[in-house]
């Protein structure tokens, strides 16, 4: 078997993800009121960004792949934005 060592980027990403998991669980038990939800979602978004950039190798890809990967996010934004508009503004 040839010598192969896991790249530092993959190991760091994995450890960062586990650290963020520990952080988000710990912060969930602190009484921060409405900020608990904001913090949980911000950490989830950070974890997803690490997965996309490093595990899914987006950091090595060009504009064309970004457009394809970003299209899903763009449509999701429209779905969540227009879909929740009525509920957030109704009195």
């Amino acid at each position: 078997m040839t010598e192969w060592r896991p790249p530092l980027a993959l190991i760091s990403a994995w450890l960062a993800l586990l650290l963020l998991l520990a952080l988000t669980v710990t912060l969930a038990y602190l009484p921060l009121g409405a900020f608990n939800a904001v913090v949980a979602l911000m950490i989830a978004a950070t974890k997803t960004a690490i997965v996309a950039a490093i595990f899914m190798e987006l950091r090595h890809r060009g504009l064309r792949t970004f457009v394809f990967a970003g299209a899903g996010l763009f449509w999701l934004g429209i779905l969540l934005w227009l879909g929740s508009m009525d509920f957030l503004t109704r009195t």
Binding site: L10, T24, N36, L41, E57, L79, L80
Partner: protein, 213 residues
């Protein structure tokens, strides 16, 4: 191993073919984002209407299994990313081992989910089957558990598909390594990481709310 694979006429080269496959997987992932996006929109709407009920119901989920499963899935993604990085004819044994590890972790995730489901069944938390919950929070609580079971079972189905894909590609890359099977492994890895990312959000929405109150 020499590349003797023929390339279909619509592609100029093997690289062109493999890049097209990667973009195709991203299009598929975009459609999957909208599938889970619809579910999550429903969750936000009902959570907005039943804040206290959702927090109470969320406290009844198993944070220990949820956290363990998140760590398991993140680690399996790490192993798959390593397999993609290592993939070549010379490292095929290592790649097969890495993918087997990821598959094993995936199966552990499913098994733990099964334990969780059976506990929830015993605690009368399955909507429609003798559901019983603190009357003050019952209506929103039932909606929460409806979302919980629909979202986690659709996610579990994706896990099963991913485990099957990884199994097939571990075998193909072991028996006949080459750019074509490596590209297929790359696409399957993108799918696996996407399923991991979905879980990251499901974990934050299902297990974390209401823990501080």
């Amino acid at each position: 191993m020499p590349e003797t694979e023929a390339v279909a006429p619509q592609f100029a080269s093997a690289q062109h073919r493999d890049e097209t496959a990667e973009l195709g997987m991203w299009v598929f992932i975009a459609s999957e984002v909208l599938l889970f996006g619809g579910l999550i929109l429903g969750y936000f709407v009902y959570r907005h209407n039943y804040v206290a009920d959702f927090a109470a119901a969320s406290r009844h989920t198993d944070i220990v299994i949820g956290t363990a499963n998140t760590a398991i899935l993140l680690t399996s993604s790490f192993l798959v990313a390593c397999a993609v990085d290592a993939a070549s004819a010379e490292t095929r044994k290592l790649v097969a081992m890495l993918l087997s590890g990821a598959i094993l972790l995936g199966l552990t995730f499913i098994a733990l989910k099964g334990v969780e489901y059976s506990n929830e069944y015993r605690e009368h938390l399955v909507p429609g089957i003798d559901f019983s919950f603190d009357p003050a929070h019952a209506s929103g609580g039932q909606l929460f558990f409806l979302f919980y079971f629909v979202a986690t079972s659709i996610h579990g189905l994706h896990m099963l598909v991913g485990i099957g894909l990884l199994g097939v590609l571990a075998r193909l890359n072991f028996r006949s390594p080459g750019t074509r099977h490596r590209a297929a492994l790359h696409s399957a890895a993108l799918y696996w990481h996407f399923v991991d990312a979905v879980w990251i959000f499901l974990f934050a929405l299902i297990y974390l709310p209401g823990r501080a109150s």
